[in-house]
Amino acid sequence: MSDLEQFRAETRAWLEANCPEEMRQPLKSQAEHCWGGRKWQFQSEAQKVWMERMADKGWTAPQWPKEYGGGGLSQEEAEVLAEEMKRINARTPVSNFGFWMLGPALLKFGSEELKREHLPPICRGEIRWCQGYSEPNAGSDLASLQTRAEDKGDHFVVNGQKIWTSYADQADWIFCLVRTDPQATKHNGISFVLFDMESKGVSTRPIELISGESPFCETFFDDVKVDKHQVVGELNRGWDVAKYLLTHERNNIGGEPPGFLKGRALGPLAAEYVGTEHGKLADAGLRADIADLEIDHMAFQALVGKIRAEAEAGQGVGAQSAVLKYYGTELNKRRYELMMDALGSEGLEWDSERTQGGLFAREWLRSKGNSIEGGTSEVMLGIVSKRLLGLPDA
């Protein structure tokens, strides 16, 4: 038995023994996701046990180094773990912006001190992070941000306003882009800083979306004191960190839809609502649309696979991430439109128990934000045309 086969066998046995039955059901909705953090109220004992057991193994962050609380797994081992978890439908034990975003940034740019301070609590699900990038009136134009951090010797004083801070009202710490050199222009003079959301002068206001949910906040900073050692990477070079993370984020769009449609095929769903005729979906137009979407999705996944394989071979992803972000989010929007086509009036119910309080319509509406957040589709096309295709500026 190879090492990897042995690892698989051990992993399978461990998961069988340790993953509670309740945690082996697909999420019914995003609301059942475990975010962790100081304010987190576990929805069940099983959710708590599962998070803690996985954290003890370091498997909440399988590939992070063991000394920072991770699992220290190789790429191959991590894939085996993912496969084995998927095999039994095991839920993600805990996840938040600390795992997706801050962790990778610290591992690449953070000092040893910052890694030791922040990574272990993330792995244990103790600290929930949020992201402070966008500002009102800046939108996709991140480089024009105006939140400023004034140098007061041993600390900064931060003043300004952020918008689209995900779950800032429920997060414990924030990673935040602030202007540390007001003289510098555009991308220069920006730093990437970390601070506690319970600091004096921090306040948040949830933003209600058209879907009725409030996953984002407006966040206000009024003379917030930030320790100077909480700067990730070099002072005034926060743009490098932010750009790395944006690329990282876009690169992680793998084509698996979030929400209700995760793991669900549209064909059988549509058959349930529109019926069949001569062995085919009764709505021929919808059938053709679903086939086209699935073909495009298959093509997208093939491209994702190719780009990732090249990235592993050291060719890097770079501006390709903009291609993935663009198509991944546009496909997802199409997918939710077709789901709504299939569900008819049932999909439109907004508050019935039958539909879990309008889950379908809300997720359809929420998907419209995919091509706005994290860089709009228009910005992505601009990056592709300039940086991948080399088309000239006007």
């Binding site: 024009s144 933003i207 509406l365 419209k368």
Partner: protein, 361 residues
């Protein structure tokens, strides 16, 4: 087609009325207060006073008999303002059905009530999640109706239900008293914050019409044509609000309306909206004129309007960016209504399929 002077006057006065008394803010308010009737009562009263509830009711029954072009002009302004009234359910579907297939007594009883605004009428067609009037499951046997209906617009406040059901091989509309034993009404609030209901019928007395099949056909045709006009108005408004935003919002130091990629998309959308509007009015006119291809035109108009309204809603949210995703901003209401209105009485795929069938392929 081009509006005549009378129609032009109607359009102008309805535009003022809806903008004054039925703006988007009313929809928001009705939603936020979980209004028990779910529609804008003062606006409805104003429409009664302006004679608009009787727009399809013949003069001998107290209406103004303005025809479907007139009803479409009202619907267009409803679309622009997202005004919430039982206009579609009562003044269009109810009036069209009763006029086309009601007995003399039925007409005499209900048509004046529609015109005077003293009755709300709801049409119940869909047995399932999708509109498929060719394959009805609800049945009438021995004068009693059994079945279940969905997406019954204003069903929970209706004084009369017009229910599509099969009897033998024949599908037809029947009059049902919503207060009769065996009727169970569940109000459902839809994504566009409007009313619909799911209604169960367990052996409920059903009153036949003089020609229930003709009534059903007339209601579907009128409803689709008028919805096409509403959706076109909605698309126009969503587009115009977006165009305004393109002219005032700055990004990267420039007005976003100077970005050529957005300019071309805006230009394409404006053309789509104009075509949707023109086809809706032409289809309404074809119905009024009794043109041979009126059914084809109505199906085409509904399919086109549903697609264009959805596109306009999608583009509107995308071009507004983050703010377009917030509930605080009104633009999202247009997207929601576009989908709900598009689904009502047959979505674009359904209408295109029926259109192709009528065209013989």
């Amino acid at each position: 087609m081009k509006l005549n002077d009378e129609q032009q006057m109607l359009q102008d006065s309805v535009a003022r009325l809806m903008a004054d008394k039925g703006p988007v803010s009313h929809l928001r308010q009705l939603r936020d207060e979980h209004h028990d009737k779910g529609y804008d009562e003062p606006l409805w009263q104003a429409m009664v006073e302006a004679g608009l509830t009787g727009i399809l009711v013949p003069e001998e029954h107290g209406g103004i008999g303005f025809g479907l072009v007139g009803a479409g002009l009202v619907a267009r302004e409803i679309g622009r303002n997202l005004s919430v009234t039982p206009f579609l359910s009562t003044a269009v579907l109810g009036a069209a059905a009763l006029s086309a297939g009601g007995s003399d007594e039925q007409k005499a009883k209900w048509l004046p009530a529609i015109a005077e605004g003293t009755a709300i009428i709801a049409l119940a067609v869909d047995d399932g999640a999708k509109h498929r009037p060719e394959r009805l499951q609800a049945r009438v046997e021995g004068g009693t109706l059994s079945g279940e209906k969905r997406l019954v617009l204003d069903g929970h406040v209706a004084d009369l239900l017009l229910v599509a059901a099969g009897e033998g091989d024949q599908a037809a509309l029947y009059l049902v008293d919503p207060k009769a034993d065996g009727v169970t009404v569940e109000r459902t609030v839809m994504a566009d914050s409007r009313n619909a209901a799911r209604i169960r019928f367990d052996g409920v007395p059903a009153e036949a019409m003089a020609d229930g099949a003709a009534a059903l056909a007339a209601a579907l045709r009128a409803g689709r044509a008028v919805l096409a006009a509403e959706l076109s108005g909605l698309a126009l408004e969503a587009f115009e609000r977006t165009l305004g935003y393109l002219k005032e919002r700055k990004q990267f130091g420039r007005l976003i309306g100077t970005f050529q990629a957005l300019q071309h998309r805006a230009a394409q959308l404006s053309g789509e909206v104009a075509m949707s509007e023109a086809l809706a009015m032409q289809a309404l006119d074809a119905c009024d004129r009794g043109a041979d291809d009126a059914d084809q035109q109505v199906l085409a108009a509904k399919a086109k309007a549903a697609r264009v309204a959805l596109l306009a809603g999608q583009e509107a949210v995308q071009m507004h960016g983050g703010i377009g995703m917030t509930d605080e901003f009104d633009i999202g209401f247009f997207l929601k209504r576009a989908r709900a209105g598009g689904e009502t009485l047959g979505d674009a795929n359904y209408c295109a399929d029926r259109f192709a069938a009528l065209r013989g392929y």
